[in-house]
């Protein structure tokens, strides 16, 4: 029963959503709106689960003085203070919560994001090393596409932007679409497996 009831819920609601995709009737639209309200109601409970997990993981580390427990202490302190500042002073513009968001979280996130530029350069170096015929084709294509995006490309030859556009719109697009078709089918297949109860790992366990 522990498995069958959730499975039944998944199957019934899953098929109802499939029907909703093809049925524009008001009854179908109302059902979808109703579900969305429920989905919104579930989210806050899930956040509580997340906070409990965070507390358990880091609480255990701190209490056991596990290696690097200081990081856990910082995490817990930051969690408590940020939450408390939000609860006490609110989240409007000008509150300590918003100050923390703007002056701590946003710059830190931006820092992480800016690392991407260096990693892309590193990844490009790895990808464009002409170790094989395929890699050489990739390197040439990449050079043309990059030149096609900047005025220098036009200065070298008026064909470079055209070739760049062609590479992006034809072989690149064809490959992307092929992947997307595969992804689409994979999604439908996975959904079908879940709806028919073939795939049950999401319920916890394979069978």
């Amino acid at each position: 029963m522990k498995r069958q009831i959730p499975l039944m819920i998944v199957m019934i609601l899953g098929f109802l959503f499939v029907i909703h995709t093809f049925v524009p009737h008001k009854i179908s639209a109302d059902f979808y709106d109703w579900w969305q309200e429920w989905a919104k109601a579930i989210s806050p409970f899930a956040v509580v689960l997340g906070v409990i997990s965070l507390g358990m993981v880091h609480g255990t580390k701190i209490s056991r003085k596990a290696p690097n427990w200081q990081y856990s202490l910082v995490t817990v302190l930051a969690l408590v203070f940020t939450a408390a500042s939000g609860f006490i002073w609110g989240r409007q513009e000008g509150t300590p919560y918003m100050w923390l968001f703007k002056n701590v979280q946003m710059p830190m996130s931006a820092t992480m994001f800016s690392l991407l530029a260096f990693y892309i350069a590193s990844a490009a170096y790895k990808a464009f090393r002409a170790r094989s015929a395929e890699a050489t084709v990739l390197l040439i294509a990449a050079i043309i596409v990059m030149l096609g995006q900047v005025p220098l490309g036009m200065q070298i030859s008026r064909w470079i932007p055209d070739i760049s556009t062609w590479i992006l719109n034809v072989p690149n697009m064809a490959a992307k679409r092929a992947i997307m078709i595969g992804v689409g089918l994979g999604m439908v297949a996975t959904s079908l497996k879940i709806l028919l109860g073939i795939e049950r790992t999401y319920l916890g366990g394979g069978d």
């Binding site: 899930a46 993981v57 202490l73 609110g90 000008g94 996130s109 992480m112 990844a123």
Partner: protein, 996 residues
Amino acid sequence: MRVSHSCRSLFLALMVLSFLLIPLLSFAAESEQEYVVQGLKVEDIPDDDGTGLVISWKPLPKEKKIIEYRVYRGVTTDSLFYIGKVDVNVETGVSGDVMYFYDKDYNYFVDLQASGSLKREKQQDENSPLFRRYPRDINIIGRELKNYDILGVIPEKDFYYRNKKVEVENENGDKEIYAGFKLHHFAQMAKKLKPDHKYYYTVLAVSQARHYYPHAKPQIGIPRTNSPEKIKQFYPVYVEDKQRLQFEWGLPLFADDHNDHNIYALKKEDLQQFRNYVDAIKKKEANDLERKIDPETEIYQVDVENPAELIFNRYCGYPYTPSQIATVQLENGKVVDEENGINYTFDLDNIEDYYFVFSIDDRDGYETFTEAHPAEIIQSETLPKIPEFSQNFLYKVIDRKDDKGDYNRVMWGKPVVALTNSTYLREDKTKIMVNYEMYTNEYYKIHDVYFKVYNEEGKLIDDINEYYQDRKLKITLEKPSNRLSFVMTFNTNPDIQGEYRLEQELVYDTQSKSLKPSKLFLVSNGYSEIVDNYKYSVYKRNYTDEEFRLSKRVAGMLRELDDNIPYENAIFKGISQCDMEKGLYYASPSFVIRMTNDKKDYIVGNLYREAAEQTIVDYQNEIEKYQALIDTALTEQARMQAEQAIEYYQKQIELNKENYILKTAAQINGKDSRTKFLDKSRRIANRSFEYKLVKSDGKGHFVESSIFLTEDGKKPEEITQKFAAGFPTLGKTHYYPKPNWFQSNKLPALIATLIFGTLVFVMINRAKKGYDLYIRPIAGIEEIDNAIGRATEMGRPILFVPGLSSIQDVATLAGLSILGRVAKKAAEYDTKLLCPVRDPIVLPIAQETVREAHYEAGRPDTFDKNNVFFITTAQFAFVAGVNGVMIREKTATNFYMGMFWAEALIMTETGATTGAIQIAGTDAVTQIPFFITTCDYTLIGEELYAASAYLAHEPLMMGTLKAQDYTKFLIIIFIIAGTILSTTHLTFLINAFPEK
């Protein structure tokens, strides 16, 4: 130097504390009086119905770092409630010298989310009159009902079925029936100010540190009724050969209290007198206002007579009718409208001697006139024509397909194609790309568009058949040209009969240095027009409207309009009484169902049968009262008035007794059944529309169609005879949008899903029967076992990231499926598996998946719930957390399975630097290259979904994989067939698939 753990923790704690204190330390207190808002003024909003005030004040300097100004209102100075705020950008401050806040129209008053009790405003002294928003306390709200015009927004179900019948004794001692509602039955209560009532306002500033400064001294404001706004655009046109006057005008901004649209004729010699009259009524309005302030002021009498003669009058009141045109047909120069008391004769030989004036009058009796304009005299042949739609119809109204019943579609004319832009493709300007756009309607399906291109000498240089309309043409020129002429025709289904073509030029523009499209000409059966000069307006009217309302005005090249008819889910009711003890707000239980066919009376339903019956008794009492008045009337006028009143009440009684809807409702026994019948009748009335189409240049040159009439007059199938009998014109002139049960453009998707589903079943059966289903080896999947083995050998943990998306994402589900397989293997090898999660909903599912895997492997003792843990929902903070885990835990194997965004590369590069073996799988096309570059193995797109099945090696799973392969094969066949057919100009196959 090595730092001890305690030193390090102290340092970290200090760092955290410094972070926490910075925001607090930055909010230093300053002299409060410097922050009190100056120059607070409350003024009446002009041209309105006396329900609007504008509050203005001088903003504080930018240096004061004010983040918002909060506005408070009350009917006395000792209690003012927060009503709204004006936000300020602290960095830029306020650019103007004055800030404004408008308190007008119906806006938020109170709802269920309001505070339960009265709360004083923050950081104000004990004696402050400022309070936060109105609380949902009926003892406070109830007292305010007399000070505001309150509108209750009640969800339909609550109004019809959750009301409480209440009997209230009125001032005359008569009992009145009301419907009572608790506050939670209202979606919201909205308020509007009352004319001539006193309101007090104050404003306070809030600093960036959210410090609430003292408020300004409250100022009084009294909203006053004003005359309507003066309309500037008014275009009278006289169509000489048709003896018809046509008028078109602009719309005012504020129209809530407007009552009538009027048009007057004025002889030229009377112009000065008319201007004197307009001045006099303005003075009268000013005098009325002065008398409200000081009743001792002498009454100003308008002693000038309006010399203009009324020739047109149309009601435009609630629901406001934004009509912009009027037509007056003359019969031998005469215009007669007995109902509106119009009887005027023009001297048609001297029509140029007349001026025309448009006016709007409001419910308070004020009237505003436009300037007097002479009529432009034209012949009917210069008027626009609505292009013929088909042989039987000038235009057509249909129910839009594939919707939930909230659209009617109005279609007119034949397809139009217009050139929109051009670009030179060669430097020598001998090759150009021309962009075009097509406009058609559901009736005409465009197969081919033919473009004939002529150069400046009129020589045909290209003849293009656009059998697949990709909205661009490439044209090669012998030599650069400054002007190209295009003639465009169509091959459509159904065929366009007779002459029909569009003509447009591309002319060299010296500014943009390119060929720009000129005006678009339409030539059809001898008629020619510039398409861009006109607009189409769709007017509509339902059973509850007295007049037609403008639905939408669209550009002249458009050929259809989807008219939105939203489902109503709330009833709006005025609230003026309440019972504080019972906690009930009273609303009228009556509601308008529809107007009578002659548009003279309303058919009104009532929630309560007894109230409906009581209405008839009340009418009878009124008749008796007026009968007695007739007998004692001293003047002929009083007697006539009494007779008219008796006639009115008799008509009302007859209406209540004989009208089909009310009669049928009276015969229904059950309370809910009766209400349901009235509710559905009301819905039909509100959602059924008749339509008219107008084509106009916006300056009085317009042509107006008659009301659209169908041939068969069939009623919608879903409206049974029981309801349809109350609406005889339904399906004939009135259109009711039907909800559809199937979205026809998704038929290919449905067929494909069914084929795929069937293939899945067939393949599963084959697999179950023992057929060997060959599945292509996927390196990434085959290496999973080796990767786990490597971690085991090295004695280090495995990291598994199930993507960053939510559980709704199929990629996350696929990732969790793989997690189950990997966790089982890791449990068998007794290798620690770490699984950081970004979405809290995914967390318990991932924990349960890993726990089950441990049970399946026979190692429940090794399961540690804390190894599957939540980090954060913030994208880059999550990456930082995962990277930290990789570095600190020195993971030997990293799996990334699911949906990833920009963070993918940051994670995998870090993993690569730690020397871990990395296997990734994602369906995010943009992230696949990064995974391929930085990971040892990558599952591309569909391979992610196949991995779970591949690892399971079960017939059920393998069957679905095989079905996927066969479906891909089918798709390839369609792609090849579509390419070949399109190349040979056969587009039926690609047209069979929807574009989106």
